[in-house]
Structure formats: C-alpha cells, structure tokens
Amino acid sequence: MATDPLQKPDTEHRAQDTVAAGHLIEFDQVVKRYGDHVVLDHLDFTVERGRHVTLIGPSGSGKTTILRLLMTLERISEGLILVGGRPLSHMAGPNGSLKPADEKYQREVRKKIGMVFQQFNLFPNMNVLQNITEAPVSVLGLDRAEAEERAGELLDMVGLREKITAHPTQLSGGQQQRVAIARALAMRPEILLLDEVTSALDPELVAGVLDLLREIAHTTDITMLCVTHEMGFARDISDQVLMFDGGRVIESGPPERIFGDPEQERTREFLSAVL
C-alpha cells in the first residue's frame, strides 16, 4: 500500500496547476512493485488532453502496468497518479493528507476512463447489443431505448450492425474486438486505454481493427493511450511516443523523431529488433 505519497500537502495546489497546464493525466514518481520486483520505478510522465500517446518498449518494461494502474485494476505502490487534476487512487484524508481511495471515489474518477483489452473480454452471458448497452443503462442510467440507439450508431461505426443479436462466441476475434471497442466508447470516455488490442488477432484481422482505431483517433477528441507492437500503427496515429525500459521512460517525443532518429542507443536497439 502507498504510504509515502500520502503526506503531500501541496498536492491539491499542484493538481490545479496541472489542469491549467492542460495535463489530463499525470504520473508523479509512480512506483509499482510485485513483492521485490519493481515494475515501475519512480515514473514521471504527463499526457495532455486530446493527445494520442503510444507506449513502446520491450516486454516486461511496465507498459501494460501503466494502463492497468490507470484503469484501477492494480494498486499503486508509491507515488501519485492524477487524472483531470484529481488523484486517481487517493482521496483527501485528515489535515490535507491523502488516503487510499474508497470504491465510491474511485468510481467517480474512473468515469472518464475506458479500456480495450488484448483478449476482448466481452461478457459471454450477453449478446452484442447487451454487451454494449449494459453499462450505459446500469452505470450511466441511460434509458434502454437511448442506450440501444447509441449502441446501434456505434455498431454502424465498427461495421457490425448485422451482428447486433449475435453472441460473442459466434464472432471472429476481430469482430469481438470491434464490439469491445464499441462497448468502451458507449461509456463516452475522455480517455481510452488500448492494451495490445491486436496481439490476440489472426494477422488478416488486424487491419480492420487498426483502421477502426485510426478513424476514432482522427474523428474524435478522445485521449488515447496505446500499448502496441504495431509500429506502423503507432507512427500513424500518435502525437507522442514514449519508449519504456526497466520501468522508466527513457525517451519520448513525436513519432517522426523516435522512429526516425532516436537519441538513445536502447531505443535504436529495440526498434531495429521490432521493425
């Protein structure tokens, strides 16, 4: 559990500064440990609203952990994550200190964030429409007709309107992933986390999903954080690329520079191995 960052009297003040500066997401000295194994090592980085950020780096460098921390699927060990200027996993405690967030607070902050998973994770007990409308109805409180209308529009966008009553098991991997993207978008997130969304797909299905994500990136103002091994895609959609190694960002910049003329030897090695 986090102990150290809980005593940070200036956080509130600083948080306001960050919003003013346009940082939608801020990682401040974030540490994530599993036992003795340090996955994220005093990580600092910020993402501005509307940006499309790609996280690249070797396996085990902590990229996915960042997304999982943002989605509150993992608990932070030390440090502070701010989303829209509010601490994600901490809430105000006595005397201006911070304490670990409770469920209610976390749900409030988490509203802004959606995630698409490597393995799609559609609910097998629901058909396509129910997968997309469940949370808008039960969490956002939309009435069913409105949620279904929104689901229909999203299914048009992902090109699966005719599968509206199908079960996830009747869909190909690529179709399941497109439904999962529609499901995440149905919650109108400000931030969309994409965790290796094409890694589990057969090669011929990858292009369809990437085209869809490209369209979302170019037609919406959703901030995207994307962990991917598809370097072409990363170059294509991102404004900013973060190169990770050993739980830290070792290099960051626009894709042209990172892919074209990386400064760090480690980045060059990594890119020459994957490209």
């Binding site: 989605m71 509150t72 699927l73 469920e103 749900r107 988490r110 509203k111 964030i113 959606g114 995630m115 998973f117 393995q119 994770n121 559609l122 609910f123 097998p124 007990n125 058909n127 469940e134 949370a135 039960s138 969490v139 079960h167 996830p168 098991t169 009747q170 499901r183 995440a184 919650m187």
Partner: protein, 247 residues
C-alpha cells in the same frame, strides 16, 4: 411377489403420502441447502478474514460430522437441551440443508473463482459497482458451472432421505418398509424401493440437465440434445476437473 404388489397397489394412498414426504424433504432440504451454499460461498470469497473464517468453520463442521448423527442430535438431543421437540420433517430439512449447504458452498466458491479475472476487469473498466459486477457478469457465468455439481449433490440428497426412517418420518422408505413387514416380501419390497429411488433421481437429473442446457445456451453454447438424457455423476466430475484445470 403377488402378495407384496397386491398390498402395494391396494394401499397406493400410503405410497403417495410417503412419496410426498420424501419429495417435501428433498425440495425443502435442497432449497435450504441452495440458500446456505450461496451464503457460505459468498462469505468464503469475501475479503474480511473473520467472515471467511466463520464460513470455513461452519462448512468444515457440517462436512466433517455425519448426517446420520446430525439427524439424531436434532431429533433426540435437541429436545433434551431446549425442551422443544422438532418435527421429523423439520429435522430432516434442517440437517439435509446444513449438510448439503456446506458441500454446496464449496461449489459456489469454486465456480465464482473459475470465472476468469478478465471478466471482472472488463466490468471494472465499465465502472460497474461491485454488486453490478457480481449480479450481471460474474454470477451468470458461474451459475452454469455450478449446475452439474449441484445436480450431483441433489441426487445424493434424495438418496439420503431414507434416513428419515430413523427419526420416524413417514417417508417413502418407511411406508414400503411397513408393507414389507406386513407381507414378509423382503426381495420385492426393496427392489421396488430401488426402482422408485432410481426413477426419482433420474427425473431430477433430467430436470437439472434441462436447466443446465438453458443456462449454457444463454452463454452462447449449444450442447447436443443428447446431453439432456445423460446421467450426471461422471460427467459432472469430469467437467469440474476441466474447469479447475483451465484456471
């Protein structure tokens, strides 16, 4: 043979009333067992150590003491301690419910744990409350896994109901025993009981198969129609193994 069956068919109302007691004990006992399965199963999966510990102790106690002794205790010892005589059927329902509820709670716990963590994560990512996650995502998927082992327990419960004879409830076994005493036809009396319990157990199996099939279809699985007629024990055991192995 002739003697027994002319007596048997001459006293069908007795048979029906015995069957009614057996069915009553089965239905009420399994209703209590099902309820306790969920209560103790959820407790076993909850976070507070005390709640988990309490569930563990209760479950181990009822699994570890004989059903036979529990029945005797409720019927003969309870009145001595508390001065109140429980009815035989009530004792039966309570003992069956506690005993099979204890086994059933392990089924619930295991099935909840067998739902992939990724499903929980997807529900968190959609910002569902813990209750919504359980009610809408985890439980409907776990339920399908629970039905085959629940069927096994239900069949075992039916086959335990002749114990009611020991505490003087007029169940099916008691009635047929009395007919055996009257006619002296041991072979035919017990053969009849064997057949009757088999028919009862198989009818319940068919019912549970239909329930399982219904639940599986809701998960988008289409089991072969043949599976409706299958007897459960072996299948159930194999299935729960596979489910465990896939974790």
């Amino acid at each position: 043979m002739g003697d027994f069956y002319s007596y048997f068919f001459g006293h069908l109302p007795d048979v029906w009333s015995g069957l009614a007691v057996t069915l009553e004990a089965t239905v009420l006992g399994s209703a209590v067992a099902l309820t306790l399965s969920f209560v103790f199963g959820f407790m076993a999966n909850s976070r507070p150590v005390l709640v988990r510990g309490a569930s563990r102790v209760i479950v181990e106690f009822f699994r570890g003491t004989s059903l036979y002794v529990q029945l005797f205790w409720l019927f003969y010892a309870f009145p001595l301690l508390f001065g109140y005589q429980l009815s035989p059927l009530f004792c039966g329902v309570l003992a069956f419910g506690m005993n099979y509820g204890a086994y059933g709670s392990e089924v619930v716990r295991g099935a909840l744990n067998a739902v992939p963590r990724a499903q929980w994560e997807a529900a968190v990512a959609l910002n569902m409350t813990p209750f919504q996650r359980m009610r809408r995502v985890i439980l409907p998927q776990a339920w399908v896994q629970m039905i085959p082992p629940f069927t096994n327990l239900l069949i075992q419960l039916v086959k335990c109901t002749p114990l009611l004879w020991l505490i003087q409830a007029a169940d099916l076994t008691t009635v047929v025993q009395q007919m055996r005493d009257r006619t002296g036809e041991t072979t035919w009396a017990y053969l009849t009981l064997l057949v009757l319990y088999f028919v009862l157990a198989y009818a319940l199996t068919l019912l549970m198969n239909a329930l399982e099939r219904h639940a599986a279809v809701r998960l988008g699985r289409r089991p072969a129609a043949r599976s409706l007629l299958r007897s459960r024990s072996a299948e159930g055991a194999r299935r729960s193994e596979t489910a465990g192995g896939a974790r």
